[in-house]
Symmetry: C2
Subunit: 129 residues, 2 copies
DNA sequence: CTTAAAGGTTACAGCCACTGGAAGGTCAAT
DNA sequence: ATTGACCTTCCAGTGGCTGTAACCTTTAAG
């Protein structure tokens, strides 16, 4: 199949597919006589796998490790476990940070009663907190 | 004061100060005869203000608007209110997205009982979920 | 007086994961 | 013959810095 077919089936943009090839995440497909990329059925599977990992916010380098791991049936699950666990930890850490941010912003947002910049309590707080 | 003094007082890196000047967020300071940047006391205030905004994850373009607003005492608080409210909304939206991500990752992380890649339930799930 | 360290300057490249656009080749239908 | 959709490559831009190189100035020590 051609690149746009793969793109629409796997729900990934054409640009992104070429980018993944460029950085070595997808192996280069064979080319037809006119130079067009020609993909196989299994490329759908790989690309959907990558898309799901991206939806979980996993970085492309980690995804590359996961894809490589899948190629080698003898390797252990430890790497996979680690990547998922670390990603979970990162997400949780970010959540904690965002909760603090939210508190600060909410406190700021509710405190401005003035209509003139010189009395704006938001700006006052940001200047001298 | 010199750039490194400003940097250590305002808790912003020297690189970042020069970058802020480059993008027009900080106005260019006067130069001493040797070409070194020479900063005033008020630059500390501005830079701390910017740093606090960044800690609230506010984008540099919005920060620029806030800084400009401060220069003009006649302008109203509406812009400030808007920027803070929008930032709060963005943070809350991100929090909702991360909560979903966390659920997905937690579900994945707890389901792998195997030690061989070919049976790894994490990879199975990611391939065919 | 020389020298070395510490700090200043500019300019360019890299990070992440794409995305946009230009300039051109190919294919199917009209 | 031409239109329009699709393909190709390559280069640049996004945000908010950070790293590095190459060079100049100031300051302290030997």
């Amino acid at each position: 199949m051609k690149i746009s077919e793969l793109a629409s089936i796997a729900q990934v943009s054409v640009k992104t597919i070429r980018y993944y090839e460029q950085i070595g995440l997808l192996s280069p497909p064979i080319r037809t006589s006119n130079g067009y990329r020609h993909y196989q059925e299994k490329d759908i599977e790989t690309l959907v796998f990558i898309r799901r990992c991206r939806e979980l916010n996993i970085g492309l380098d980690d995804i590359k490790r996961l894809v490589d791991t899948q190629q080698d049936p003898k390797s252990s699950c430890a790497l996979v476990d680690n990547i998922i666990a670390e990603q979970l930890a990162r997400i949780q850490q970010t959540q904690r940070e965002l909760a603090l941010l939210e508190q600060s912003l909410a406190a700021l947002a509710s405190c401005c009663k003035s209509h003139q910049i010189k009395d704006c309590s938001i700006l006052q707080t940001l200047k001298s907190a």
